[in-house]
Amino acid sequence: MRSEELIASLAQDLRGVRPLPSPARLLATWLGVTVPVLAAITLIMGPRPDLAGKCGEAGFLISEGLGVVTALVSAYAAFCAGRPDQPGWKLWLPMLAMLAWLGEFGRQCAVLGVQDAGGMLRLTLDPMCVPGIAIAGVIPAGFIVMLLRRSATFRRDHACLCGALAAAAAAEVALRLFHGSVNIVTLLLWQMGSVILFTALGWFASSTILSHAVRAPRRRQEAG
C-alpha cells in the first residue's frame, strides 16, 4: 500500500480522541492519591516513637528528602516516557536521583564507621522491611499503572521501571516514619534492598499488565 493511500484510509478511520493530561498534571493526580494513602498507612501502623527526635537529625532529613525527590522525579519520568516528544534526558533523571539517595546512605555509613570504629555497622535481621514496603507501595504502584495505561505504547518498559521506582521510593519514605532500623547498615541493606526488590517486581508486573491493556482496546476496536 502506498503511503498516500494509507493516509486516505487513516483519515477515513479517524475518531475524535480526548488528549491525555500533561505529565505534570498526571503527577499531581498521582500525588493526590499517594500522599493521603501513605499518611493513612503511617497513622494506622503508628509513627515510630523517636520520630520527633529524628526530625531534628540532618542525616534523616536529607535521606528522606532525597527519597521524596526520587519518588517525584521517577513518577514524572514515568509519565514522560510514553510521550514521543519528551527529551531523553528527563527519562534518566530518576537514575541520578536514586544514585544520590544511595550515595547519601553510603556517606552516612562511612561517617558512622569512622566515628564509631564499626560499632554502628553491625548488620542485624530486619525482615519487617519487605512487607512494610509492599503494604505501603502497592496502592501507589497500582495507581501509577492505571495512569500509565493510555500512554504505554512507547517506551513501555522505561515507564514501568520509573513508575515502580516511584512507588517504591514513596513507600520507603513512609516506611521510615513508622518503622525504624537498628542502624544505618541494616537500613541500607534491608530497606533499600526492599526498594530494589519492589522496583524489580513492580517493573515486571506493570509491564505485563500494560502490554495486555494496550492490546485489549485495539482488539475490541478491530473486532467492532
Binding site: M1, S3, E4, L6, I7, D13, G16, F154
Partner: protein
C-alpha cells in the same frame, strides 16, 4: 515554521475528529517525514525508509491522544519516527540473529534441495496456522478479500465496515501475518 504551526492546529482539530484537518496534516508532513527517515536512518534503503514512515503514520493514528495541543507538532512526529525506526532496527537485528547466510553454498548444492511437495505443505501449514492465530475479524476480512477475491465494495457490504476501515484492517492484518511468519517483527 508557519507551516508547522498549521500542523499543530490541524492535529488539534484532528483530535476533535476533523478528518479533513487530519488528512491535511498527514499529507503535509509526509515529505518531511520521508526526508527525516532518510537522514536519521541511513542504513535503511528506500523501501525500508518508506516502511518506517508508514509505521510512523500508523503509530500516530493509534496515539493521537498523546499529542499535547500546547506543544509544537514536529517534535511529536519526529519522536514517533525515531522510536519506530529504532524498533524496526531492533527487529531487524533479532531477525538477523535467527538467519544463516547461505552465500557460500552453491545454489546447485543438493543440500539445499527439498521435495516440492514438502515445501508446499510446510508453507501451507505455516500460513494456515498464522492465519488461524489472527483475530476473527481480521481473518474474516483476509478470507473475503484475498482468498474469495471479493471486491472492497462487496466486503464492505458483507461486513458493514467502511471501505477506508477495511483498507486499514487489511493493512494491519497483513502486517500481523508477516510478523507471525517471521518476515517482520514489527506490528
Amino acid at each position: 515554521m508557519d507551516q508547522q504551526g498549521d500542523w499543530a492546529r490541524w492535529l488539534r482539530e484532528a483530535q476533535a475528529g476533523n478528518r479533513r484537518s487530519y488528512e491535511a496534516v498527514l499529507r503535509a508532513a509526509l515529505p518531511w517525514l520521508r526526508g527525516m527517515a532518510r537522514r536519521r536512518f541511513p542504513w535503511a534503503d528506500a523501501a525500508e525508509a518508506e516502511d518506517i514512515v508508514q509505521d510512523t503514520l500508523l503509530a500516530l493514528h493509534r496515539n493521537l491522544h498523546l499529542y499535547d495541543p500546547a506543544r509544537p507538532a514536529a517534535p511529536f512526529l519526529l519522536g514517533i519516527l525515531k522510536l519506530r525506526g529504532a524498533d524496526r532496527r531492533r527487529a531487524q537485528a533479532r531477525h538477523h540473529l535467527r538467519t544463516t547466510p547461505l552465500d557460500d553454498v552453491p545454489v546447485t548444492s543438493s543440500s539445499l534441495a527439498t521435495k516440492e511437495t514438502q515445501e508446499v505443505s510446510i508453507d501451507v501449514g505455516r500460513i494456515s496456522s498464522a492465519v488461524g492465530a489472527l483475530p476473527p475479524r481480521e481473518r474474516e476480512i483476509l478470507e473475503m478479500l484475498k482468498l474469495r477475491e471479493m471486491s472492497l465494495a462487496e466486503t464492505s457490504a458483507a461486513t458493514g465496515m467502511s471501505v477506508g476501515a477495511l483498507k486499514v484492517a487489511t493493512f494491519r492484518a497483513i502486517r500481523r501475518l508477516r510478523a507471525k511468519l517471521g518476515v517482520n517483527d514489527e506490528e
